[in-house]
């Protein structure tokens, strides 16, 4: 099982905003890897912009099921600086709402 999740190869456009697709990627790609005890690398190469709802749906289910393990073991790469800021905001909100 490859531990890298390349978003563009999974149908995400350069503007990542489709929440249903993000949730599907979480269920089909991220959760099984976490279940297998692996670190998951989510590759944002080619993603130019992102809505906050996309990122929320990408990680919310994992955060709810695995808690701290999900925050520790899901790693993001090739992230544009401004997208990274959105991620930080969503992570903070997520930890408050799921606490």
């Amino acid at each position: 099982m490859k531990r890298i999740v390349r978003l563009r190869e999974l149908g995400v456009g350069e503007f990542a905003e489709d929440k249903a697709l993000a949730r599907e990627i979480c269920q089909e790609e991220i959760l099984p890897k976490l279940q297998a005890g692996k670190r998951v690398i989510v590759d944002f190469r080619g993603i130019e912009a992102m809505g906050q709802g996309f990122f929320y749906q990408l990680v919310a289910l994992a955060a709810e099921q695995y808690g701290e393990v999900a925050y520790r073991e899901i790693v993001f790469r090739n992230v544009k600086r401004e997208i990274g800021e959105t991620m930080v905001g969503v992570y903070k909100g997520l930890q408050i709402t799921l606490a």
Partner: protein
């Protein structure tokens, strides 16, 4: 039911249009024009199409004496929701300037809607903004109302604005929040829904993993940052964010009542929800920058409610 189009087709004065909607006889819809000139914002078109869906296509009709300027109704696809055909000449739709009325029932139609927005003749950042706003509103409607929404988007090159409207004939904002939040009336329900972290999915700020309670707040926030009109009409309630003063610093507030607004709970009781806004092409600098500003506000409101230690995402290597 009766809907009257006039020469006022701006979001600024759309309230008068709503006040004149006659919702008696819900099994029948008549659409007509007042005066010799017809203008229509997507908000007016979307709510009319929703009413036509409620009445049924064969019970809905547009007056045949519609003036020539009423061809905007044909261009935007309103005649596809009623039984009679347009009496104007062959309609020419400019795909770069509009996304005519369309129903979004599933993921496939949502993707098609995004493709059509992608063809609008506006910049990349502006297109992302429109796609984000429409995507949020469509997801909200599909997720909470249980009814497929009607969407319309129109670009006005002269005023450099994009008018957006998403309308569903579902259970309304009050119906979505009643089980958990118990709002007293439609206006209070709208006010709650516009606050960060409020969702019908759970009690307290923030939702379960299914919803963050940020969508509608973020859309209002984007309108505020762009100093544009934004409105929600559901039941008898309507909240309208007024244009911000250019001399003042743009600041987002958690409670929509603290922003410059108009609110009423005395409109004709529309069974459903209409959300509409304008996107000023020249006010959108960086979509992601604005997204970050809105996200920070959202987190600020949540943190206020629940001070605690939080993790940040681990990002490998240098940012690209």
């Amino acid at each position: 039911m009766k809907v009257i189009f006039s020469n006022q087709g701006n979001l600024r004065n759309v309230r008068k249009f709503f006040e004149k909607i006659d919702l008696s006889e819900p099994g029948r819809l008549e659409v007509r024009a007042a005066g010799g000139w017809v203008a229509a914002h997507p908000a007016q078109l979307a709510i009319t199409a929703s009413l036509a869906l409620q009445a049924g296509k064969w019970e809905s009709e547009i007056d045949e004496k519609m003036p020539e300027s009423g061809k905007i109704l044909a261009e935007m696809g309103l005649y596809e929701f009623v039984r009679n055909k347009a009496t104007f000449g062959a309609e020419v739709r400019d795909e770069g300037a509009m996304v005519p009325l369309m129903m979004v029932r599933d993921e496939g139609e949502r993707a098609e809607l995004m493709r059509r927005i992608g063809r609008l003749m506006i910049g990349v950042e502006q297109r992302r903004m429109v796609q984000y706003v429409v995507g949020c509103l469509v997801d909200n409607a599909l997720g909470w109302s249980g009814v497929a929404p009607v969407v319309a988007v129109k670009y006005y090159p002269k005023t450099r604005k994009v008018g957006i409207a998403v309308c569903d004939a579902g259970k309304g904002v009050w119906g979505s929040l009643d089980e958990v939040w118990r709002p007293r009336n439609d206006l209070e329900a709208i006010r709650m829904a516009l606050r960060p972290g409020v969702t019908g999915a759970s009690e307290g700020l923030g939702g379960a993993n299914v919803a963050a309670g940020m969508g509608l707040f973020a859309v209002r926030g984007m309108a505020k940052l762009m100093r544009n009109y934004f409105l929600v009409y559901s039941g008898a309630g309507m909240y309208e964010l007024m244009r911000g003063d250019r001399r003042l610093k743009r600041k987002l507030r958690a409670d929509p009542i603290l922003d410059r607004h108009f609110a009423t709970n005395d409109l004709p009781p529309f069974l459903g929800t209409l959300v509409a806004m304008d996107v000023s092409v020249d006010e959108v600098g960086s979509f992601q920058g604005m997204m970050n500003e809105v996200t920070r506000m959202y987190v600020g409101a949540l943190v206020e409610a629940d001070e605690q230690q939080t993790y940040i995402p681990k990002i490998m290597g240098r940012n690209v």
